[in-house]
């Protein structure tokens, strides 16, 4: 229990970020027209690709003789990049089509 309370105090900024982000997410999506649901889902999908940063940190910290960590980290970097790059490119392709109509 003590540890949990300590952890809350140490990480209070992060907890504030979490709470405010939850409301922000609800607020931002709340009034979206259904036309944009698919691109929005795809865009959000690209944004959670931010997990790639964790993969980069894992990779960069791995000792150069710890092959298991290196290989898993390497895989994580590839998968994360796929998520980010693929996500943004797919979203852009969808939205490109909306732009043309006058």
């Amino acid at each position: 229990m003590e540890e949990l309370l300590n952890w809350f105090t140490i990480h209070q900024q992060m907890i504030y970020i979490v709470i405010l982000s939850i409301f922000l997410g609800i607020e931002v999506i709340g009034r979206v027209p259904s036309v944009l649901h698919t691109p929005l889902m795809s865009g959000a999908n690209a944004i959670h690709g931010v997990v790639i940063i964790g993969a980069i940190i894992v990779m960069g910290k791995a000792e150069s003789d710890n092959y298991l960590a290196l290989i898993l980290g390497f895989l994580a970097v590839i998968l994360g990049t796929l998520n980010v790059v693929g996500g943004f490119v797919v979203t852009d392709r969808m939205l490109e089509m909306f732009k043309k109509k006058k």
Partner: protein
């Protein structure tokens, strides 16, 4: 100094995600919003590579990092560029799965560190590692199933008592994790890998029985799962940009999921637990002696459409599969030249994802103003002469209004049967994606026009031109 610059990079990243999401929710600014979020992501990624340090140590293994980034970028760009607009939903599901797998792998590596170092890790750190592992693995396995389902590689599958099996697996996952986190036993690291395996199995079983029509909801839900998994990484590394991005997507994805469920008028629990496959058998048998269907030829369709005052086209996934959106737009133009008033009625969940039809028709240059949402369209049907249904099925099924035993009962549908004549284009009499019979096809006002949507539309356009 460098660490301060990194802080600013992360700040920029977080702000661009928020602005990007905000702009993505307006049609005029959507594309720019996506690019802004992408730019912020690039800043955050390169900031991490060059500026990140832990206990004064910078990152190493640059060759590996850049090789991974390069492979991912090339493969991701190619896959995203090559995919057809119709296959977009499964692409999103696939990328989502990659993100989930990435989050799970991070947990695996971090756990390996803790397990080898022998230093006792804090309970909370372990909790975060387990949470990232479980959510990431469920999201990965679930997304892969959703992907395979959408492109037809696997069918719905459920067995008796599956929900109970699922609950038991989930209980095992939670109990095993809780045991490990709170007692931190030495030498029992295999519990972690057992939890990983169980999470993958759970993800598999979780999505397998869910019926086709509910797939958009599932993808959106898994999308928000991956967001939360990414946020776990944010806690693990005290990384604000991962936290903001992850939680934003987690909450936005949840709201989007709820909006989709609302569009189908079904509570989320119903989507997840009540799979279509189970109750469908009782529903379909009652339709077997429904009466005869009436077929209509292309010539006749061309004539009735040419002389109609008002035509409404109802596109569905069949149109997408046939890649017929361009011909469909041509049909609309030909009819408009003849003075027919043409519009499109878009059900919120037509296609495989909400808004899927809008994207497809926008690709074919269809005027935005001609797309009517369900409520508008339903007011128009009574004064409409011909409704042309192109590969849509469940979204025009009157059973949703009249038959309480139907699995889609309560879902708002397009009231096409109010129009004077309904022409349904389908490839065959097979039931729709949700596997439910449609009484509309047996309605005396309805005529069936069998064939591939693209093929039929091309002939129809030629025929109308010659009328």
């Amino acid at each position: 100094m460098e660490i301060n610059i990194l802080t600013i990079c992360y700040l920029i990243g977080s702000v661009t995600f928020i602005i990007g999401l905000k702009m993505l929710s307006h049609p005029e600014t959507a594309r720019k919003g996506n690019l802004i979020a992408a730019a912020g992501m690039a800043i955050a990624i390169f900031g991490t590579i060059f500026l990140y340090q832990e206990n004064g140590l910078k990152l190493s293994n640059y060759a590996w990092i850049f090789a991974g980034l390069f492979i991912g970028t090339v493969a991701g760009t190619m896959a995203a560029r090559k995919v057809k607009m119709t296959a977009m939903p499964e692409m999103v599901s696939l990328f989502n799965g990659m993100g989930g797998a990435c989050a799970a792998l991070i947990s695996v590596v971090e756990f390996g560190h803790i397990n080898h170092s022998g230093e006792p890790a804090g309970n909370i750190t372990l909790l975060i590692i387990f949470a990232g592992l479980i959510i990431g693995a469920v999201s990965f396995a679930g997304s892969m199933v959703a992907w395979a389902k959408l492109n037809g590689r696997i069918k719905d599958y459920s067995f008796n008592g599956q929900h109970i099996v699922n609950l038991v697996i989930l209980a095992f996952i939670i109990l095993a994790s809780a045991y490990y986190i709170f007692s931190t036993p030495v030498g029992l690291g295999y519990i972690f890998y057992a939890v990983l395996a169980l999470s993958l199995i759970y993800g598999l079983f979780f999505v397998l029985p869910i019926g086709g029509a509910d797939m958009p909801v599932v993808i959106s839900l898994l999308n928000s799962f991956t967001g939360v998994a990414a946020a776990c990484g944010g806690f693990l590394y005290d990384n604000p940009v991962m936290l903001t991005g992850g939680i934003l997507v987690g909450s936005a994805g949840t709201i989007l999921t709820i909006l989709m469920c609302k569009a189908m008028n079904r509570p989320l629990s119903n989507v997840l637990i009540g799979s279509f496959g189970v109750n469908q058998k009782s529903g379909s048998s009652s339709f077997s002696d429904q009466g005869n269907i009436k077929e209509i030829s292309i010539n006749d369709t061309a004539v009735v459409m040419s002389y109609a005052k008002k035509v409404i086209i109802v596109p569905g996934y069949g149109l997408a599969v046939a890649q017929a959106q361009h011909v469909c737009h041509e049909l609309e133009k030909v009819l408009s030249e003849k003075g027919v008033e043409v519009s499109y009625a878009i059900h919120p969940v037509a296609g495989r994802m909400p808004g899927h039809m809008n994207v497809l028709l926008a690709e074919a240059d269809v005027d935005y103003a001609k797309l009517q949402e369900m409520e508008q369209a339903n007011e128009q049907f009574p004064s409409t002469d011909v409704v042309l249904i192109l590969g849509a099925n469940d979204v025009v099924n009157p059973a949703a209004k009249s038959d309480p035993s139907s699995p889609i009962y309560g879902m708002p549908v397009l009231d096409v049967e109010l129009a004077k004549l309904v022409v349904v284009n389908k490839r065959s009499m097979k039931p729709g994606y949700a596997g439910i019979e449609n009484a509309l096809f047996f309605d005396p006002k309805t005529s069936m026009l069998f064939g591939d949507a693209k093929d039929v539309l091309q002939k129809l356009v030629a025929e109308i031109k010659s009328v």
